[in-house]
């Protein structure tokens, strides 16, 4: 993926009394391959909503999201699902399957890509080891700590080497060295010609020098601050 852009992107939710609450209001921006962008904003500013919109899990209520100039946000589900194969997501709450082991969770996105089992095994273990959680491969996800779960979720997002990586608060449960390591992995992924978008209000992310561009979400608008 060379470019992801938002054109007059709007999102609102229905509220009691037949009203609608606007969350994002006519956002125009673009993210290019090879760069890492960080989006910050107060709690409830719509950062996670923006991530869900960018990865196609939510449909905008106005405007569109274009990937390489194709209006992916308006595509029918089947095509959006195909496009999403090139998207890696680190969810704020990890969304691991508790009954599966860390390794099984990581290789799930590889299985649906119909890759060779040997290749899947190797990619899964490599990805876990890059996050320093290789020793947790056989442990059920339900028995991992919050920080470990987040690392496994990051390994799952990175193991497919996606063209677009979206991370929602990826360092929230990490100590300083782990947070720095995760951000370094993201920056390396961006340098490999991919788009990386990190949404956070963690000061370590905001003050770090890894990000090429910084945005701030406030009042439904997004302003570039770097």
């Amino acid at each position: 993926m060379r470019e992801l852009s938002c054109h007059q992107l709007c999102f609102s939710r229905p509220a009691p009394g037949g009203r609608t609450v606007g969350i994002l209001d006519r956002i125009d921006t673009q993210f290019t391959a090879g760069s890492m962008s960080v989006i910050s904003g107060a709690t409830g500013a719509g950062k996670s909503t923006l991530v869900y919109l960018l990865c196609g899990l939510l449909r905008p209520t106005g405007g569109e999201i274009r990937a390489d100039n194709a209006p992916v946000s308006r595509w029918v589900s089947a095509h959006k699902d195909l496009w999403r194969k090139d998207v890696g997501i680190v969810f704020q709450h990890s969304h691991l399957i508790n009954d599966l082991t860390a390794f099984e969770n990581v290789i799930l996105p590889l299985i649906v890509r119909h890759k060779d089992m040997k290749e899947i095994r190797s990619a899964g273990l490599t990805s876990l080891e890059r996050l320093d959680v290789g020793h947790l491969a056989g442990k059920p996800a339900g028995k991992l700590s919050g920080g470990e779960r987040q690392k496994v979720a990051t390994a799952r997002a990175l193991c497919t080497s996606p063209g677009l990586l979206l991370a929602d608060e990826p360092t929230a449960h990490q100590d300083d060295p782990s947070a720095a390591h995760i951000l370094e992995l993201f920056a390396a992924h961006a340098r490999n010609g991919n788009i990386v978008i990190v949404v956070a209000h963690d000061r370590r992310v905001l003050s770090g020098k890894m990000a090429d561009r910084r945005f701030r979400l406030s009042g439904g608008n997004m302003d570039q601050i770097k």
Partner: protein, 347 residues
């Protein structure tokens, strides 16, 4: 009076299908009127979501209508003869409904045919992410909706009539057959084309359709619309002639009785429910050429889909040839077997 469980099942499934049809039709009206793919306004995005859910509703309605039609055929042929006095097969059951039953089947088949064409177009539409056939599909759904509504109401009337029958008045099943022969006009109507004419018509139309289908499948040049359009017209004629040929000529070899021209007895267990397979194959064979024509038409309207629609049209024509051959073998099998065993045709 308490309704028969089969009647209740059909009414429930039909009512559910009707809800989905109404939902899909309401969306289709909006899509047909306001679809604007170039715009990314809130109205268009809402419409895109509605179109997707509308298509899901239409698919649900299609599936439910197929299910209710199958259950209705099973009920008319194998269940209701038990509650209609003197009935041995679906013929008397339909006569007892006073024309409602025939109407119900007619509307249901028409509706299923249009829904099938819509389903093919919807599949074609989904091959492209920007849904170029959305407006065309909406119009197709709007065409199917009135037939679906009529089919559901005719089916309800059919079941209501059967439910209010006086089960204590004996009726002779043979009266139905004799009713057809009241006066010379009736005899002429019942006879229709001779067996000889039916055999020749069936043979010629089958040969023509196989030739047209083969040309459509293998000819790489243009004018495939002309071929599939001609095949569509011929296939409708072939369907009518084949049904008559099956009932008037070939069924004798299944029943092993001459002059029992009843289509519904083919659905009975003593004849191994062969009617389901034969009429099912007949329906599948008939719908393929119109499908090919509709695909060709969609390809012309949207050049971006030309290659895919052409592939689908060829596949439909190939399927038509396959179903025609399978139907011919299945329908004529008992006759050929009879001829080989006894050395004569039943005529």
């Amino acid at each position: 009076m308490i309704w028969h469980p089969f009647s209740l099942a059909i009414v429930m499934v039909d009512a559910l299908a009707l809800l989905f049809v109404v939902k899909a039709a309401a969306t289709s009206v909006r899509v047909a009127a306001d679809w604007s793919p170039g715009s990314s306004t809130k109205q268009q995005i809402t419409l895109e979501t509605a179109a997707e859910t509308g298509a899901m509703s239409a698919r649900a309605a299609f599936g439910l209508l197929i299910g209710s039609t199958l259950v209705l055929v099973v009920a008319v042929t194998n269940v209701f003869p038990g509650i209609v006095p003197g009935a041995m097969c679906g013929t008397v059951v339909l006569q007892a409904t006073g024309g409602n039953g025939t109407q119900a089947f007619m509307f249901k088949l028409l509706c299923l045919g249009i829904f099938y064409l819509w389903y093919i177009l919807d599949r074609l539409d989904r091959t492209s992410p920007d849904a170029p056939l959305a407006r065309m599909n909406a119009k197709m759904l709007l065409l199917a909706a009135p037939f679906a509504i009529l089919a559901v109401f005719a089916t309800f009337n059919t079941l209501n009539t059967l439910n209010s029958l006086d089960a204590h008045t004996p009726v002779d099943c043979c009266a139905v057959v004799y009713d057809q022969f009241t006066g010379t006009r009736g005899v002429a109507h019942a006879r229709g084309p001779s067996d000889h004419q039916l055999v020749w018509s069936f043979g010629i139309l089958t040969f023509l359709l196989i030739c047209l289908g083969s040309v459509g499948v293998f000819w790489r040049k243009k004018r495939s619309g002309l071929i599939s359009g001609t095949a569509a017209i011929f296939s409708l004629a072939w369907g009518t002639i084949s049904a008559l040929f099956l009932v008037r000529v070939l069924s004798a070899y299944t029943y092993e009785v001459l002059h029992h021209h009843c289509p519904w007895c083919l659905f009975l267990p003593e004849h191994h429910y062969v009617g389901f397979a034969l009429f099912g194959l007949l329906g599948l064979a008939v719908i393929q050429a119109p499908t090919a024509y509709v695909c060709h038409w969609a390809g012309l309207a949207h050049p971006g889909l030309a290659e895919k629609s052409d592939r689908l049209a060829r596949r439909s024509l190939a399927a038509m040839i396959f179903f025609i051959l399978v139907f011919t073998v299945a329908a004529a099998g008992p006759a050929i077997s009879w001829r080989m065993r006894y050395g004569v045709w039943m005529s």
